[in-house]
Symmetry: D2
């Protein structure tokens, strides 16, 4: 039976790039998709793959070209990718779709991600009485100022020591009020600002160390808080290994992964 319209490609290729500049960094965070059409009918009807550029190759191409060519002009990068794929034998059409998640630069190296962030309040009355507040979905990332070194190694440890790395998380924090502040909204805003400021300003040796400093800062800033609890998922940005293609990695192109994530939890008390 006749094959009708068909295409093949790779979707949801997640890629981030640090573009370093005088005034600070730019951070480009993309989900890229490629869809090709071409003279590949025999792949469908007889299983002949001689013209089927692997979708894994498409993925690799995106990362490889990103290092030298991805900048703020997404359309130019998309065109470059299209041209590259059209140069493959048998490819007649290429569509590249790029979706960039928006990060707002807050400091030269610190970014806040667009997010359905929420203010939380939790009130218990009856046999237990407590008032807590919190935040969730506070998405922050810094391109420098975080390390992870000096950890123990065993036979399954291959992680390299990192003197400086991207640190990104979506902060969930909940704090108890020993005394409920007069203006809970102003207090919430102060806690939020303290979290953001210290995430960006405090150098950290780990996500754990980062969280502790943030907790200390909140307790210092707001006398009514007796304890703060954090969940800090470590949202990894993995260096994408270009050396397989004979290209040395220059420290700018990363593969952000949603899963797995480091699950860092801590409580800071008085």
């Amino acid at each position: 039976m006749p094959l009708g319209d068909n295409s093949w490609g790779k979707s949801e290729v997640r890629l981030s790039k640090i573009i370093r500049g005088e005034a600070g960094d730019d951070f480009v965070d993309l989900a890229a998709s490629v869809l090709l059409r071409g003279d590949v009918e025999r792949a469908y009807t007889t299983g002949d793959n001689t013209a089927v550029l692997p979708t894994d190759t498409m993925r690799n191409t995106i990362y490889a070209l990103a290092q030298d060519h991805l900048g703020r002009d997404l359309e130019a990068f998309g065109e470059l990718l299209c041209d590259r794929f059209l140069a493959s034998a048998g490819v007649t059409d290429a569509v590249v779709a790029l979706a960039e998640r928006i990060w707002d630069r807050a400091t030269p190296h610190g970014f806040v991600g667009g997010s359905p962030e929420r203010r939380l309040a939790k009130i218990a009355r009856g046999r237990t009485e407590a008032t807590a507040a919190g935040i969730e979905g506070l998405v922050v990332l810094k391109t420098t100022g975080s390390a992870f070194e000096g950890f123990p190694r065993d036979e399954y440890t291959v992680l390299p020591e990192a003197v400086d790395r991207i640190l990104a998380t979506s902060v969930t924090a909940e704090w108890d009020y020993a005394t409920v502040p007069v203006d809970t909204s102003a207090t919430w805003s102060l806690v939020r600002q303290t979290l953001v400021d210290h995430f960006f300003a405090d150098w950290s040796a780990s996500a754990q160390h980062q969280g502790y400093q943030m907790g200390e800062a909140v307790l210092s800033a707001v006398g009514e808080i007796s304890e703060i609890r954090f969940r800090l998922p470590n949202q990894h940005h993995l260096p994408f290994d270009l050396s397989r293609f004979g290209v040395p990695w220059d420290g700018t192109v990363f593969h952000p992964v949603s899963e797995p994530y480091g699950d860092i939890r801590l409580t800071v008390t008085r």
Copy 2:
């Protein structure tokens, strides 16, 4: 067999309230949850509901008390709810959890919602050549400046005419470039700002009318764009009917619903 720890409540009660002020409105958008404990063992073991406050009553209570009592102090509102539930016979413990979605006030009556907003670019090369850009997840809401009146009525029409209502949407727009601008990033930012400005500033007789004005404004602002296509889900905020409890609705408390939504699509060309 013995019943151990148990509780009952209502989760994800979605509620929004306009708090009108001199300098403009505040918009509080909550997902509220209640969890009670009490002397209700017989409900589990024998089906005796005499002490089981219905979770539907909890929901109604939240809306009813919100009209007079919900303000910026979420903790105070939560405490009020707890006290109310503890007054029910047999209830020994109440926990109220409130999660407020953050909306940033951009104009006295216009708000931008926290969102994983994305910049889009779509590049086609080969037998078809086109360059398009777009935006998705641009969440905007205005508390006034939108109507829906004069529509046809049939036997299944019960919708009241609205002289003034909340209008909220998550804008998805895609536009074609007849000529790709020199600075695609600056152009994207200009389009985004134009969309936001006109959503807030232009009075509209419907979501359709709103979208058309936004499209016209974009085409006026950016000469390189030949056509813009919109999807504008009408994210309904329904007046919550308090008259069932003998309380007249004062125009401030709404029930935002995720589904169904009005599905408004349009194209503006030159």
Copy 3:
């Protein structure tokens, strides 16, 4: 500027219907969407809504026609809806899309919903030692055999007493092993089957009562389990009020809502 292609409609209209039969019930669970095109250009360009059938009317029409006309032939129902909408002045095109969630009938009135169900195991070692197992995403529904009556009423209670109603939930349960069974997989399957069997077979006066019976049955069936904890979200199926259109509700058409939900939690021990 010229208006290009445009359409308006309602999306994600959730509707379920019990079709009672000799051998048992059929349960049709739909998300319906409508999209119309027509002579409505002036709605966009000048705000004239005289030809704009409200999307709320579309929603009502779907429920109203479902009572008499929705059966297993989704395509026939879709065609009926299209014909109805095309009869509205100015409508030139109608597209109806229906998406039916699959429910497998397990008993004459009991259904298991398609779901990414998961088996859980949780092992703690160190200062605390415990082995627990669990299930999540076990989606079950019955069309009869559940009531909710005799509950307390206050000024915010409008819920009618229900002698017989739909009960639907997505079971999350976790149980502790006093002794880990020799065959944990067979034990897990036995627990699952016991939960399903008793959900369908045991008449309940409430979700709480249902859960307790399920817990008792599990503890009776598996001697190694010391305690079982449930979360049973009560996924409401609301009678859709057709009386506003002069049509008496015949007990078959419901509006399933995702939020809010009743949050029922309990523990059964030995």
Copy 4:
């Protein structure tokens, strides 16, 4: 300030394993999480990582031990992992949580995944008249009977040739009726069964080849269908490279990834 309760671990480690047997394969598909507690206070307070087992090492350990030790007894595997982590210096507590997605074996090597599968119907009337039906969320996987070889290689191609591999997808298909069948429900069930049967039975040289055979089979089985369109996301199961730990990979342990995915689309007509 004092550090309170704290823990660190890795969440959402996705792992699948083929357990080959006489009567056919078993397929275990896990999301695993680890959470440790220990003498790591100095990591938080001073940035001293000497006792912080990296979460990346936890991940690797899960995969490495799975090859020899993961079977149907999830609790035993969890206990083994706990014991291993407790052997690390300074670790005092370990919690391992395993969540297994349920796959039903349909043939010796073919599995259907639990899923909120949906039957689709799409009816257009007016200037365009068409009736289509469809399916989405039909999750299928086979442990053998699919290859991907003979594809073109360029400088960015590192994908090895695969004589035999896991093939998994979530089928979305839509088909047009030239004539609407008398019994659309029976026809839908026949199409669904045909898709499942041929996915399992037909050897394929690629996802494209697999889809074409499925489409041909549907058109052969149902005379009323004029055309069928597929979207077949290739849900990759990557061999997890254990050689870094000096362990040869034995072909059973995989890393399933959600993103990116191969995006395979095709139409089969008459």
